[in-house]
């Protein structure tokens, strides 16, 4: 229990996150009392709500990391569950998909995390892209309902790839056996999450401050070139500055955090496109009340698997 406490560098990372949260809470409070107009007040209320959500998430995440590998697996398993519940709510499924969905939620997804737990890398890597890929269309076909067959199979496969397979690569970092870094994998996971989420936050902040030119306004009206460049550069700088907590040199850390930032951006963009496609406005009510788990983790879903494989390829002999 609480093996994380024995790692001073991990504690430093946590301390940094805590410091950042305290500062942002203070800034949020100052901004609130300084805001004059109705519009700015709405923006700042939104900002403060985000900061409150961050506190909760960080405390939960921090606790799960301290508990060790099982804690992280359970935590990410729950996030996968919530994200997939959200995704399947939004995607129109048919009565014939019911059993397939049931197996996806209660067998395939838990199995994916269980495989990390027992450190079976081979099966972990092919479970969803190969086995589930064969299982899902077969199971839908067995239901006898062939209307929109290809669409339904594709939507379910995509959902489980994003919410279970991609995301599970974040806690799978704890599997990696990096020479000279044994027992410190929790830092690597925290590093990924910090750089990825800070890139989101900083893109939002830079976009709000100096954002002018839209990148893909049809898909996501809030993404601007200024926000993108500013966010990616500052988050990369931050990631580089955290090299001491990782097995990387400063240059490697810079390259890896740059990759995380770019992929995070791609994830956000793709998820926005999906939401436009399925017309989120109808089900927006459901999501808003729940804070939108998918919105928070879309960047991580794209960054985690690539980061995992880069580290595995270059740092694990």
């Amino acid at each position: 229990m609480l093996q994380g406490f024995r790692d001073p560098k991990l504690m430093c990372l946590f301390g940094g996150v805590l410091f950042l949260l305290i500062v942002s809470s203070l800034v949020g409070r100052i901004l609130k009392s300084a805001s004059k107009t109705e519009a700015s007040r709405a923006t700042i209320d939104n900002l403060n709500a985000r900061i409150r959500a961050w506190w909760k998430m960080c405390l939960l995440f921090g606790f799960s990391l301290l508990v060790g590998r099982t804690g992280s697996l359970v935590m990410f398993g729950i996030i996968s569950f919530l994200a997939m519940r959200e995704y399947m709510t939004l995607v129109p499924t048919r009565r014939g998909d019911h059993r397939t969905l049931f197996w996806s939620f209660f067998v395939i997804m838990p199995l994916q995390y269980y495989l990390i737990g027992i450190q079976w890398y081979g099966l972990f890597a092919i479970m969803i892209p190969v086995l589930a890929f064969v299982f899902i269309p077969t199971s839908i076909a067995l239901s006898g309902d062939t209307e929109h067959f290809l669409e339904r199979a594709a939507k379910i496969q995509f959902g489980i790839m994003i919410c279970a397979y991609c995301l599970s690569h974040a806690p799978a970092l704890l599997l990696l056996d990096i020479p000279g870094f044994q027992g410190h994998d929790a830092r690597l996971l925290l590093y990924l999450v910090i750089v990825d989420q800070m890139s989101d936050v900083l893109q939002y902040v830079w976009g709000k401050l100096i954002g002018r030119h839209k990148i893909a306004w049809r898909v996501s009206p809030n993404k601007t070139w200024e926000g993108f460049v500013g966010g990616v550069l500052t988050a990369t700088a931050l990631g580089t500055a955290l090299w001491w907590a990782t097995p990387f040199t400063p240059a490697q850390s810079a390259a890896l955090s740059f990759t995380i930032c770019i992929l995070g951006f791609c994830g956000g963009l793709v998820m926005s496109a999906i939401k436009r496609d399925i017309g989120i406005k109808d089900f927006g009510v459901v999501i808003e009340g729940h804070g939108g788990i998918l919105d928070r983790i879309d960047s991580l879903c794209f960054a985690a698997p690539i980061f995992f494989h880069l580290v595995r390829y270059f740092f694990v002999p």
Binding site: R85, M88, H98, V286
Partner: protein
């Protein structure tokens, strides 16, 4: 009826909330221990459990479901759930239609309403699905007359409409495995039978009150 909530009932309510992540909105009234009849659309076995779990625990302890006798007495498990766990009031569906003549039908109908009035007693509330059966979630069925007669018999009890969304995708009719999805529950403004109001007029109004609470357009 003994007070207190059966532990299995609490467990089932917690599971239902975890699977459905139900987001509750009290749009037309606030939660209250006063005697009420909650009436809602019916598409899934989860309807009752989710609606019940959305009530604060002190109200929950006083609120009983109304369930169809023919269905819920069929197997020992169903009997256990209705009798012991949820303390349901069992009614015979279409009892009046099965009788030989008008008088007998009238008698049976009155008997049924009397049962429900007794179940309400001095402090209990009821959860009722006036469609009488589970629909496909696309369209609201016609309401049965029981709600009207019960409302006349107990004018002191508030009639609260409610709408449950997306539950038919989580546990559809004829299925026993649940799929996790988000759902919505909206409580509307209480309504009453107006003086001299015709049965059909009131039932139409009650049905409209339920369907107007729908937050997501038809898929």
């Amino acid at each position: 009826m003994s007070d207190g909530i059966h532990p299995i009932a609490s467990l089932l309510a917690a599971v239902a909330r975890g699977i459905t992540g139900v987001q509750v909105q009290w749009a037309g009234c606030q939660p209250d221990v006063k005697q009420r009849i909650y009436f809602a659309n019916h598409t899934s076995h989860l309807d009752f459990v989710v609606l019940w779990s959305a009530l604060p625990s002190e109200i929950r302890a006083l609120t009983r479901p109304v369930a169809a006798k023919d269905y819920w007495e069929e197997t020992p498990l169903r009997r256990y759930l209705t009798e012991k766990v949820f303390k349901a009031v069992l009614v015979e569906r279409g009892a009046t239609a099965k009788t030989k003549n008008h008088e007998e039908g009238h008698f049976v109908g009155r008997h049924l309403i009397e049962d429900l009035a007794v179940a309400l007693g001095k402090k209990n509330s009821l959860i009722l699905f006036p469609e009488g059966t589970r629909g496909d979630g696309k369209q609201l069925g016609e309401f049965r007359a029981g709600l009207y007669h019960l409302a006349l018999r107990r004018p002191d009890v508030e009639l609260v409409p409610a709408y449950l969304e997306n539950l038919n995708r989580i546990l559809p009719k004829g299925e026993f495995l649940m799929v996790p999805m988000l759902s919505l529950l909206t409580f509307g403004k209480p309504l009453q039978v107006e003086p001299h109001e015709e049965k059909e007029v009131f039932l139409g109004r009650a049905r409209e009150a339920v369907s107007s609470l729908r937050r997501i357009g038809p898929a």
